[in-house]
Amino acid sequence: MGVYIAKRLLMSIPVLLGVIILVFLMVRMVPGDPAVVMAGEQATAEQVDAIRAELHLDKPLPVQFGLFMHDLAKGDLGRSPRTHAPVSEEIGARLGNSVVLMFTSLLLATVIGVATGVISAVKPYSLFDSLAMLVSLIGVSMPVFWLGLMFILLFSVQLGLLPAAGTGTWLHLVLPTVCLATVPLAMISRMTRSCVLEVMGQDYIRTARAKGLPERVVIAVHALKNAFIPIITVVGLQMGNLLGGAVLTENVFAWPGLGRLMVDSILARDYPVVQGTVLFIAVCFVFINILIDVLYVYLDARVRFD
Amino acid sequence: MSDVLLAVTGLKKYFPLKKGLLGKTYGHVKAVDGVSFAVAKGETLGIVGESGCGKSTTARVILRLIEPTAGEALLGGRDIFAMDARELRQLRRRMQIVFQDPFASLDPRMTVADIVAEPLRVHGIAAGTERRELIRDLLRTVGLSDAHMGRHPHEFSGGQRQRIGIARALSVKPELLFLDEPVSALDVSIQSQIVNLFQDLQQRYGLTYIFIAHDLAVVKHICDRIAVMYLGRVVETAATAELFTRPLHPYTQALLSAIPVPDPDAAQERILLAGDVPNPVDLPPGCRFQTRCRFKLPVCAAAEPELTDVGNGHCLACHLHRVSSN
């Protein structure tokens, strides 16, 4: 297993290198001179040039890349020219929030998604199936910022049940979690439904029934573990997406997460923070993928012995 | 055996087993491991063996659907494996294949006419109404009617689909037809229809068949000669009658005895083989069959027996025979 993980890590190096090069070039492709933006409207030409020099933007691209890689090799992501804080600190300040939000919404999505998916699959085309499908689809059919706004107006302003935005108590988590969970919930529940439906048609389910096992055992023991394998992929993919992709939700609920940091930084042309954050998220993505594969192996013996 | 159409010698196909980032090869599946045989014009050669013995791979390699690892295959004296792309296109007109699964071998999105027309189109045979006429003829030849032309494969039964596949293969007027388990997916009553069709076609067009199957009864019925394969090698070849009356290889003997006969009174002496076909990744040294052989000799574990002619064109790869005849 250790060898396997090591190999997977090795395989991820080209991907990470690709991500580094891509993000490095892409942020520089975006029009808008960071020096001009950071210097502000009232800056003089000399001040702009000074900032440009500070950011090494006056040097040719390969040199800039070399400097970046040199620092990276030392584990240094650099400092934000905008806030003067080390990039690692900027990421660190948001990481906890992002992870918490990712986990709560994924947990919610998985628990409800799997439950409704299984019930729907056991009784396909039933009233419950249709309703669950409709409700979950309505959730994903709303632009997330609109949904979030409605949540705030209803639950915070009208009912006064929950705080509108920001962090603090666990109550602050509720609305962003629900809002963020809608998309993965719909995906997971639909995925679970189709997987369980498919598994229920497998020969080994017939075998389990032929053995005289009670239906709940057939579903819980024989169907679910098999159905979980593809579901885990979806959950894993969502993990990556939610970690850095919750931009809109984070904006609406003033949730200080990585997505907002990334977007704010790109809009401010804060190259080091963008580079650092994207690289960090890519690393997480790679790790999550490895984690999923390890889980696969745990769940599916066929993979284990190949 | 004078008029040899296809001669295969030392054919090998290894599938590498890869792992790691750069796909380092750590072993091979020796699907076909030194197969030699020859087919005469107008003859039907049966290749039999159990699943995983390499009989289908052999066909696909000769057809150049997959590239060989080693060996030579001469079609009318020309080496198939040395052909360039242009020659290969010509080759496609001389050799064709009919597949086992009548459901998977026809593109579900095409009409019957399209399917049969595709080879004609690819090779620029006929055009317009002439091509349509040709397709109509082909369909009639295989026992389908004009009315079927515009329909899709899913509207047909298994037997009919197999007829479509045969029409497709015949469209380029090949000399040699590989029949890869062409009837094993069909119901008994349909099987006989298709087998009869093959016989009719052979008579009519002077076709040469390589008939790959695991059903020995069908093979016996249709083939002139039979090659028995075991784990990537031919272990015995003989004329059909000879093989069924005087099987020499212990594997052939067991295979023949295992066939259930639809006669409750047939006194059958069954040779039960122990165990299964071993994994082709790590084969034992020596004879491949030694792990299941009743007559295993010390030499069997030491050296791999060569396929040798023991008379009447009956070839055998077994130490036992040599020992007993010596």
Binding site: V30, P31, G32, D33, P34, V36, V37, M38, A39, G40, E41, Q42, A43, T44, A45, E46, Q47, V48, A50, I51, E54, R82, T83, H84, A85, E90, A93, R94, I119, S126, L127, F128, L131, F145, L149, I152, L153, L154, S156, V157, Q158, L159, G160, P163, A164, A165, G166, T167, N251, V252, F253, A254, P256, G257, R260, L261, D264, L267, A268, R269 | -
Partner: protein, 518 residues
């Protein structure tokens, strides 16, 4: 299964009912509070006052640091760390008597050495000072005695004192600068009424009362600043009781919020002026008649009332009323007929095509503003295409030198932190201030205006300055290098029972005097 569905239906109905009957906002009982939560639009970047250039950061640093002088609630310059001052007759030497007994929160004593250190740091080219323009007229700082400091200017500079009130010219503890080095921005040490208690980047900045503060101690113990990017969310936070003060309230909310019994809305003038810059090098816009025509074509009053919902004031001079020395020169009235006539005179009876560049989310209702202007221009035959750009690209785009400039007509705003006319007219209209270094983005050049504005800066006699600026304002208005639009009003909303919050026209909040009413 059925039971499950029934339960769901009941739950949904209940929720709907509750929301229908809920009505008013749910105020938490106003126990004796000693904290304030402020929701701002963007995050604080850095707390090194010398490095800042953004309003949200300045609002915070103004509570941690003190400047030598400051603005009171009537926008007059009053003493802060400097108790009194005197300038030499030629206006080149300024002597300040400093307040005694002031200590930084790290224990460092505030004195003339500290002032000298700070001014020199502000002038040090190695230190990143974005608003160096607010101080770079200083040539030298001399310590006269422990509590007296003298600043010698390169040239007489009338707005000098006003510039010292800028948040960027605040006094920082020299010991802290030595201690924290590059990290000073995250470890600010000042003499102000508050000090940093906790700073979670992107989430909140918590200030707590500086118990050693030299002045009147604030009544509120803790002030929390939260970055809340979405306008609606900030509003909801106030309504739900999660925030006590919110800034940048959408103008459309003013009327409704004003009726809310729990909320107090402050709508006041700001010094941010909004205008459409015209690139005078453009083939059409180089003709003053065309520029005037554009000014006549746009209905400024309608914009102010219809789009800004009253949260603005149409301008009648290049300079704003709050700034010295404003002179009312009269705006272009809304007169499409005249606009058409002028266009015809200029040779464009059938109008022409134009591109309007604009940012989104930068100025009050900016997108709608340009949509409206597009509509007005269409009425006089000018077919304008809108091009949105995000701010960073936009700023780079408009700051290109004349030979690279692709600008035609574009939306800008200017909001100086100092209420002196120099801060507005000089950088925006003097021909020496062309991009990339300056802010005269339209490349406007009028020799007479240049001379007048230079005079206004260097003269210290108030009357002379007023005359020079007054004349300049008239000339500029006539030349119409902009479509003069309006000045923004800032809308700040807070809890009804929060008193003593000062809203300055420079988009600043002062909370030191705030307190909760019983």
């Amino acid at each position: 299964m059925k039971k499950w569905i029934a339960l769901l239906v009941v739950a949904v109905m209940f929720a709907a009912l509750a929301s229908g009957c809920g009505g008013g906002s749910s105020q938490k009982p106003a126990a004796v509070k000693d904290s304030i939560v402020v929701a701002q639009g963007t995050d604080i970047e850095d707390l090194d006052p010398h490095g800042i250039a953004s309003t949200p950061s300045a609002i915070v640093t103004e509570h941690i640091f003190d400047t030598l002088v400051t603005l009171d609630k009537d926008f007059k310059i009053v003493p802060r760390l400097a108790e009194s001052w005197q300038s030499s007759p030629d206006g080149k030497e300024w002597t300040f008597k400093l307040r005694k007994g002031v200590k930084f929160t790290d224990g460092t004593v505030f004195n003339a050495q500290v002032v000298k250190f700070n001014i020199e740091r502000l002038l040090d080219p190695k230190v990143k000072v974005l608003l160096r323009g607010y101080i770079d007229q200083v040539a030298k700082v001399e310590v006269v005695d422990e509590y007296t400091v003298k600043m010698i200017l390169k040239y007489p500079h009338a707005p000098f004192l006003a510039r010292l009130s800028s948040a960027s010219n605040a006094m920082l503890s020299p010991a802290a600068v030595a201690k924290y080095g590059a990290d000073i921005g995250r470890n600010p040490v000042g003499t102000g009424p508050y000090k940093v208690k906790e700073w979670v980047r992107g989430d909140k900045l918590v200030l707590e009362r500086n118990e050693e503060y030299w002045g009147a101690k604030p009544a509120i113990k803790t002030v929390v600043f939260k970055p809340v990017p979405d306008n609606n969310t900030r509003l909801a936070m106030l309504e739900a009781g999660d925030a006590d003060i919110i800034v940048r309230v959408p103008p459309v909310e003013y009327d409704r919020l004003s009726k809310n019994a729990n909320v107090k809305v402050v709508r006041s003038n700001s010094t941010r002026e909004i205008y459409m810059v015209m690139n005078v090098n453009n083939q059409y816009l180089k003709d003053p008649r065309v520029r005037q025509a554009l000014n006549y074509a746009v209905n400024k009053e309608e914009i102010v009332n219809g789009i800004l919902k009253g949260a603005g004031k149409a301008v009648d001079s290049p300079l704003l009323q709050e700034m010295f020395p404003y002179k009312k020169v009269g705006a272009y009235e809304f007169n499409p007929t005249k606009a058409k006539q002028l266009l015809a005179e200029a040779g464009y009876p059938n109008g022409f095509k134009l591109t309007i560049h604009h940012p989104v989310g930068r100025y009050l209702e900016d997108k709608r503003l340009v949509e409206a202007i597009q509509g007005y221009l269409k009425n006089v035959g000018i077919d304008a295409e809108l091009k949105t750009m995000e701010w960073a690209a936009y700023l780079t785009f408009v700051r290109k030198p004349a030979d690279q400039a692709e600008t035609q007509l574009f939306l800008m705003g200017w909001g100086p932190w100092i209420l002196d006319g120099d801060q507005m007219l000089y950088p925006l209209f003097v021909s020496g201030e062309f991009p990339p270094g300056g802010n005269n983005y339209g490349f406007y050049k009028n020799d007479e205006v240049d001379a007048l504005l230079k005079k206004g800066t260097s003269t210290t006699v108030e009357k002379d300055r007023a005359d020079a600026y007054g004349k300049a304002q008239e000339l500029i208005m006539k030349d119409a290098p902009w479509i003069f639009l309006h000045s923004e009003m800032q809308i700040v909303a807070m809890k009804k029972n929060l008193d003593g919050v000062v809203v300055l026209p420079i988009e600043q909040l002062r909370l030191a005097g705030a307190k909760w009413a019983q």
